[in-house]
């Protein structure tokens, strides 16, 4: 018995010695780079989850075509949380001891439940689809993909107010979900700066029929509308407004989170002429973007990519850069150290070449990211202006 134990120890020592020799040369210790992604592909935002998974997988496929990361292929492992916080914790607990970095979680509810677990274990979360307010709490173990809401949004509503100077009073449809009330507040700041009065009308989360709500809004006798609610509700409300005789289409503004397929399918022709803002420049001539868009359309019945479609594409590439620049190995023995290297790289990346724009991060906050204002004509966005 003792002999076996001795033999075993000897072998282990040999392996260890051999191992540390190779690690010393920073060689990759994995066959495949697994990037885990805590997404919600079932439940109320399943459709958004689907395209975010799609773009992460698309990025991985592209990287693998180009030779992988440090010569090894990359694979995205999707974990479905179904927007349930406890499911999020469960999924996080499966990986928190082992992985290098995690993308997500999605959305806010799951972030707040599961990220504390990651923080306790020193695991960096690429929270690339969420407002600043939800991630700043966990800095430095998260990053914010967007500038703080109250800084980034007022300029775009100011721009919209300048385009439509006749407006004095607008009704804002607000759905109280996650970050949206905060964004609505930021819209109001910008409009107030331009002396436009804002009256909020709350959209019930489980509403299916909007005539009553629209009657209520019209009774305020406004000059315009802002829609800060989920995409199919926004589409239906606009349709109802048009049915009830609203004609000044450019006085309707839709916020970025509603810029999604459901808006266009439910809104249909009623959307013609309305304003909308988001972070994607659809006219970008970047070749990667054009390819992305084309393949996305092929896989999605010809629909255009939604407003969050590129986030996790860029995130995968950012992780790739972090691994390459930091010469990371994926070796379990160096896990804690390499986790911090990824974290520090991503939170302070300089001139990162995203699929559309190039930007930098400073301590987890983007320093330069434009917002685009569009007019929708025949289901396509036409650029009106750019803030910042």
């Amino acid at each position: 018995m003792r002999k076996y134990v001795a033999k075993f120890i000897l072998i282990m020592l040999l392996i260890f010695a051999f191992g540390s020799m190779t690690f010393a040369q920073d060689e990759v210790a994995v066959d495949t780079w697994e990037i885990h992604f805590l997404n919600s592909v079932t439940g109320p935002i399943a459709s958004i989850g689907e395209y975010m998974s799609w773009s992460a997988n698309y990025a991985a496929a592209k990287i693998n075509e180009e030779g992988g990361i440090r010569g090894k292929p990359v694979e995205i492992v999707i974990h479905d949380t179904g927007v349930q916080p406890d499911k999020g914790i469960e999924e996080m607990s499966k990986i928190v001891d082992d992985v290098l970095v995690v993308m997500g979680p999605v959305p806010e509810a799951v972030i707040m439940a599961a990220v504390p677990l990651a923080v306790r274990n020193g695991l960096f979360c690429m929270t690339s689809s969420t407002s600043y307010e939800y991630t700043v709490e966990y800095f430095p173990w998260t990053l914010s993909w967007y500038p703080p809401t109250e800084e980034k949004l007022p300029p775009v509503t100011e721009l919209w107010a300048e385009e439509n100077p006749e407006m004095e009073k607008v009704v804002q449809f607000v759905e109280k979900w996650a970050a949206w009330p905060g964004m609505a507040g930021a819209h109001t700041i910008g409009l107030n700066n331009k002396n436009v009065k804002v009256i909020d009308v709350e959209v019930p989360k489980d509403a299916v029929e909007f005539s009553s709500l629209v009657v209520k809004a019209l009774a305020e006798d406004p000059d315009g509308f802002v829609l800060t609610c989920n995409p199919d509700k926004a589409g239906k409300i606009i349709k109802e407004l048009v049915n009830r005789g609203w004609e000044e289409k450019d006085n309707i503004l839709v916020f970025s989170s509603a810029d999604d397929t459901a808006l266009y399918t439910t809104g249909g022709d009623a959307l013609n002429g309305i304003s909308i803002y988001n972070y994607i420049d659809p006219d970008s001539e970047n070749e990667r973007w054009l390819n992305f868009k084309q393949e996305y359309k092929e896989d999605h019945d010809g629909k255009n990519p939604g407003s969050l479609a590129t986030n996790y594409y860029d995130s995968v590439y950012m992780i790739k850069e972090a691994i390459e620049e930091g010469k990371l190995t994926g070796d379990p023995a160096k896990l804690a150290e390499e986790r911090i290297k990824i974290r520090d790289y991503c939170r302070n990346v300089e001139n990162f070449k995203g699929i559309q724009i190039t930007w930098s991060m400073n301590e987890g906050l983007p320093t330069s990211k434009p917002i685009f204002l569009f007019e929708i004509i025949d289901g396509e966005k036409q650029l009106i202006g750019k803030s910042r």
Binding site: D86, I89, E90, K94, E137
Partner: protein, 281 residues
């Protein structure tokens, strides 16, 4: 212990506690979803007390048991012997109202949720000890005169009345205890997860608890234990692509079990026979 195992056990035990709060009133045919509303109330209360007022776990737990029982006791005056579906709809309506109230109260975090609740250092030990206490308590009720009376009410309320059993009293008692257990489950959830989100306390939770109760079996308190472990455990080891069909699998299982073994996998009769065999051999 790995994080996976610890969360698996912790969640399973919390769900057993929740399922027990639904199990007890169902002894007299009350699907008491008011318990789910109670969990929402006490978990948020626990969260606020600990985050904003620095309360520690134990007093929060005790208070929440009292509050939970009190809510159910008050409501039980009208639904203590109401028909099953009246109890169902009262419960679901409360769940809906409480959820909306939380979503519209900024102090409770609104739709954003409440977070930063200090989690327990040794949640598993505390949960396990508490489960033992509640389990013993339920066992005593089940095997008392009241438990037997409840079985009569379940089979035939008129027969029970003719035997001098007062269905309303027992209904009220069970609903009140259910409220107390639900109250504790809410606080355990809050101090285990560390964050609260109004959407958690909805139809989804009701569906999950029903699946656990009816698949495990409602004729004995032991059924929910394996059901909670299996229904929460199996999806954890399945690949995510299959696990995301979890609710569909729950639904299919629920229909299948009701159509084939409506009393669930584990029944009182089965346990009796097991017991007899052991003492016989």
């Amino acid at each position: 212990m790995s994080s996976t195992l610890m969360y698996f056990l912790g969640f399973s035990m919390t769900y057993i506690l929740m399922a027990w709060s639904i199990y007890l009133p169902y002894r007299v045919k009350h699907l008491h979803f008011l318990a789910v509303a109670t969990m929402a109330v006490t978990s948020y209360m626990g969260g606020i007390l600990s985050v904003n007022f620095g309360w520690s776990f134990l007093p929060t737990l005790l208070l929440s048991i009292v509050i939970g029982a009190l809510i159910s006791y008050l409501i039980s005056h009208t639904i203590g012997n109401a028909p099953t579906f009246t109890v169902v709809i009262v419960g679901i309506t409360f769940v809906f109202i409480i959820k909306t109230a939380i979503e519209n109260t900024d102090y409770l975090g609104g739709t954003i949720g409440l977070f930063g609740i200090p989690v327990l250092d040794h949640p598993l030990i505390i949960l396990f000890a508490f489960l033992l206490v509640i389990g013993y308590f339920l066992y005593r009720i089940d095997h008392s005169r009241i438990g037997r009376a409840a079985s009569v009410i379940f089979t035939d309320e008129n027969l029970a009345k003719s035997m001098g059993i007062k269905p309303k009293q027992i209904g009220m008692l069970f609903q009140t205890i259910s409220g107390g257990i639900a109250g504790s489950a809410g606080v355990f959830y809050a101090f285990f997860v560390g964050s609260l989100f109004p959407d958690f306390f909805t139809f989804h939770l009701i569906g999950t608890l029903m699946t656990i109760l009816f698949i495990g079996g409602y004729t004995t308190m032991w059924g929910v234990i394996p059901a909670a472990l299996i229904l929460r455990g199996v999806p954890m080891i399945l690949p995510s692509s299959i696990a995301s069909w979890r609710l569909l699998i729950y639904g299919v299982l629920l229909v299948a079990i009701i159509a084939t073994k409506p009393k669930g996998l584990i029944t009182k009769k089965m346990l009796w026979e097991l017991l007899k065999k052991r003492s016989g051999s």
